[in-house]
Each structure stands twice: as C-alpha cells, then as structure tokens.
Amino acid sequence: MPDLEDLYREIILDHYRNPRNRGELDTPPAVRAEGFNPLCGDEVIVYVRLANGVIDDIKVGGQGCSISQASASMMSATVIGRTTEELHRLNHAFKTMMSIEPDPDDPPPANGNGADIKLGDLEALKGVVKFPVRIKCATLSWHTLTQALEEAQATA
C-alpha cells in the first residue's frame, strides 16, 4: 500500500484546515454551481464571477473529506485572475495528472494538452492517483467549476 503520507501531504492538509476563498458571491453577477460525489456525500459549491474573460473572483462552499475540500481550496487559489483560456489548459493539465480519461466532448486546448502549464501547489495532489477511490474527491471541484463556467457562458 502506498504511504498515507503521499495522500495527506502537508500542503493539502493546510488547505483543508485553512481553506482559501471560502464563502459566497452574489448571483448575479456571479454564477453558482453544485457538485456532488454520490459515493461519499462530498459536496462542493462554486461561485465564480467573470469579467472580460478573466476569473475576477471565486468562492467555494460545501463539505466533504480532506481531499475534496483541499482540492477545492487549491483550485480557487490557482484559478483566480486567470483567463478562461488559461483555465481550459489548466483543467486539462490537472485531469491528465489525475489520470482522468480525456472527455471526448471537451477536446484538449489547440495549443497543446496543457502539459506545459505549471500546476504549482496542485502538484501535491499527485499522490491521490495512488488511491484510485479518492480521485473523484480531488476532481469534484474542477468538474463543478467547469459546470459554473458553462453556465456563465450560457447566460452571458
């Protein structure tokens, strides 16, 4: 069995104990999306506000295990201030790292699969791959963000 230390890296536990960008945003102008992991009841709520194609602000709510909540916190800290195009690449890079099969409905970015993009703190979640059951916990917030952005683009 891989070491639990690979899963519960200090930086992950720090995000879990001290979640960044916790809260809500007014909707509108922000959009809100909810994600559930039916397996274990994890719940992530993402509020995101776009301005000129840039993620102007993001807040995260919900409850769940350390991996789901830390991943949501790390995601919020990483994506704030990014363009939606950068986000698209980041999303692909993250899911590649998490060994998620590419979604045929969501082709990789034209300028590469995002593998060149720096994931920074998110790299700490790499150890989750050794615990396959927990991958869904780590990717829940990213799926929810994608959902929120789709909503934002639909209502724009």
Partner: protein, 410 residues
C-alpha cells in the same frame, strides 16, 4: 451455547487473507457479509455437477437444478416462518423486491393523493421507488420522524397513518442500528386500513425472523448480507396479495401461455420471476440459511448484543467526547451497526486511515441521505459486525482510530 467467533472465522476462507500486512478486520457486514465455505461450495457444486436451466428440461441435470432451486425456496420460507413456499419470490436483491411491490401492487392500487408512509431512517431502496410513484401517480409520501436517540418518534402516528394505503419501514436501520417496533407499526397500519411492508435487509441476517409475528404483508430482504451470494434477494408476501398483483417483468418462466394476442401468467411465485432465475445464487442462499440455522439465530443475536455492548463501552471509554456514536445507547435496542463521528475528521479520511491497519469500515451517507440530513451530518463512518467478529476486531478498530490524529489533529 455461545458462538465461538474464532472457530466461525475458520469457516470463512477470506479471513485468512492479509490486508496491507495486517489480518483482515472486516467491519462492513451491513454492506455485505463474508461467505462461509459451505456457501462457496454450493455455488461450485452447482456449476460443476448439475448446471442446467430450471423448469424446462426433462433430463436428469435439469431435474436436479429445478429441485435445488425449489429446495432453496423451501429453506428460505422455513427460515422466515412463511406458511407456504410459494410466498417466497426470488428477486435480484431487496431493492428489486421493493421496486416489484411499488411497480405492481403500487401501480395497481395507488392513485393521486394516496398516502404511503415511510420513515426518516430508510435506505434509499425504500425511498426512491416511492418518489418514482409520486412522480408517476401523484401519491403522497409521508415520513415518520426519528427522535434524538435514533428511535422512531410515534407521537404523531395516528395523523400520519390517517388514510394511508401502505406503510413501509426498515426493520433495522442500516445507519443507526435501531430495531424498529415492526409489530406495533403493522397493527397500527392495519387499523388505519393500510398494508405493511418491511425492509428486513438488516434484520434477517441477525435476528430470528417470523413474517407472521411481524404482522407484515410484504417483507423484502437480500441474500448477500446473510452469508449468501450477491444477486439473490427475496420478496415474501401473503399469497392472496401475490395472486392479485399484476406481473412485474415479462418474459419466459413467468407465463402459462403466450399467443399472438396476449399471454396468461404462471402461478405464483413464478409469475414474478421472468427469465432464467439466479439459480446458483438461490442454491447458495439456501446453503447460507443452513449455515445460519447451524449457528442458531438466537445465538447470533446474543453474540451481537454482547459484542455491540463491548464496542459501545470500548469506544466511549477510550475516546469520550471525541467520539459520537449515533443511534440507541442500549445494545438490546439495536443491531451491531455503529455509525460514528470521530474528532470532526471526515469519515472518508477516517476510513482511509483505518484501511492501513486492515480495518474495513464504510464511510459515506450509507444510501440514507434524508437521515444524514436529520442527523445534521453529510456522512458517517460505520462499523458493522457479524458472526465472525469478536472483541479483538473492536480493539483493532479502537487502536487504529487514533492513527487519524497524526494527520488531522494539530
């Protein structure tokens, strides 16, 4: 004579295996039980010696397979105190058995505004089929609440049962362990003119079952939680109800005659068993019934009450206010299912840490999301015990729990 878990463990081949370098401490029997050798042998024996389709062939193998299937039905009928073997309908699991009642009896007998009464502690299997009928027929779903100890709160029962057509209740909660007053509810349901259905999935493996004493009209349970294989469950219902109910799935096995114009149904129980049934699984369930009878259901219950008492004492003494165990505090009022929260650490993380020591517990909402909402939590960790568990398993759980502190408690 009291059960001897050490010798019982020798009957379960899986208990020999190691997990992450530790002996297997299996505390997830409420999800599925492990299987004793006689059950595994019954499956192998069926496939190696007399595999053939039932109720069709005139050759020796088919005769043996049909006899074995029907013998399993008779064993199950005797195990639950059914007055006739034909009252035992084989289904895939308890979920299918409950859906069978909703789809056949429910569709034939319920209409807009007809109340169906369930409780806050139901498994999704006894919630969603009724939500589906709410959407389809406009039935009214009513909920019996629970009190702070995890018992049903029956103070408002008369009002809840007023006009009710069906009351459907778990005999034992798969989250809280609460043993519900089924006979009392059945009598109240009948006085109100309603039928009574019991989800006995967490009951039949652990307590001596008598459908007549329960006062039920329908009883659903699954085989794989009572030492049987997966893929086999049971609906028991009174003969006159089964006779009157329309068929469930259509196909082979369930017919008497088929013409271009239509069909007529086979006699019960086969009317509800379309297609080739899970023959090996039924035979395996029969072997599981023999195995449990060999141990003695009264002895199993005694063992579990004692072990539950030990677990409650051990965890409470060791962890005090750091642990919250949901459900009734008296072992005699509950089954061996302990849902707990530890130091605010998320159950998924608790289960992950326990796994490192070979301790298997379930984490999550246990297919009871409405109950989780009532309890005010999104998930719990759940340790559930059975015939092969003993105090050493409880001790292993208690020891491994402290390991979570290293990661989550600053």
């Amino acid at each position: 004579m009291a059960l001897d878990p050490a010798s019982i463990r020798a009957d379960f081949p899986i208990m020999c295996r190691q997990v992450h370098g530790h002996r297997l401490v299996y505390l997830d029997s409420a999800a599925t039980s492990q299987k004793p050798k006689p059950v595994i042998d019954a499956l192998t024996d069926y496939y190696e010696r007399y595999n053939s389709n039932v109720h069709r062939g005139s050759y020796q193998l088919a005769v043996e397979a049909t006899e074995a299937l029907e013998a399993a039905r008779a064993k199950v009928a005797a195990f639950i105190g059914a007055s006739r073997d034909a009252e035992v309908v084989f289904a895939k699991n308890a979920t299918e058995a409950i859906n069978l009642v909703a789809r056949t009896w429910g569709r034939a007998n319920l209409g807009p505004g007809d109340p169906v009464v369930i409780t806050e502690l139901e498994h999704h299997a006894n919630i969603v089929p009724w939500h589906m009928l709410t959407a389809e027929l406009g039935i009214e779903l009513r909920w019996i609440p629970i009190d702070a100890n995890g018992h049903l709160d029956l103070t408002d029962l008369d009002r809840l049962l007023d006009g009710a057509r069906l009351v459907s209740v778990a005999a034992v909660s798969n989250v809280l362990g609460t043993i519900n007053p089924i006979r009392q509810l059945a009598d109240a349901a009948h006085r109100a003119g309603a039928l009574m259905m019991v989800d006995a999935s967490q009951y039949t493996p652990h307590l001596s079952t008598d459908v007549g004493e329960m006062g039920a009209d329908f009883v659903a349970f699954t085989g794989h939680k009572m030492c049987g294989p997966t893929g086999i469950g049971v609906l028991w219902a009174k003969s006159e109800l089964l006779e009157a109910m329309p068929p469930f799935l259509g196909g082979g096995e369930m017919i008497l005659n088929v013409t271009k114009e239509g069909f007529s149904t086979a006699a019960v129980p086969w009317k509800f068993e379309a297609g080739t049934p899970p023959i090996a699984e039924a035979v395996g369930l029969g072997a599981a019934v023999d195995y449990l009878n060999g141990l003695g259901m009264e002895q199993i219950r005694e063992h579990e009450v004692a072990l539950t008492g030990y677990a409650l004492r051990t965890l409470n003494q060791r962890y005090g206010d750091d642990i919250t165990i949901h459900g009734p505090t008296e072992p005699a009022e509950r089954g061996g299912v302990l849902s707990f929260e530890y130091k605010g650490i998320h159950p998924h993380d608790v289960a992950q840490v326990l796994d490192r020591s070979g301790v298997c517990v379930r984490a999550g909402h246990h297919c009871a999301k409405p109950l989780m909402r009532v309890l005010g939590c999104a998930a719990t960790s759940r340790a559930s015990m059975y015939v092969y568990n003993d105090e050493s398993d409880v001790d292993a759980l208690a020891d491994a729990l402290a390991d979570a502190d290293a990661f989550f408690i600053e």
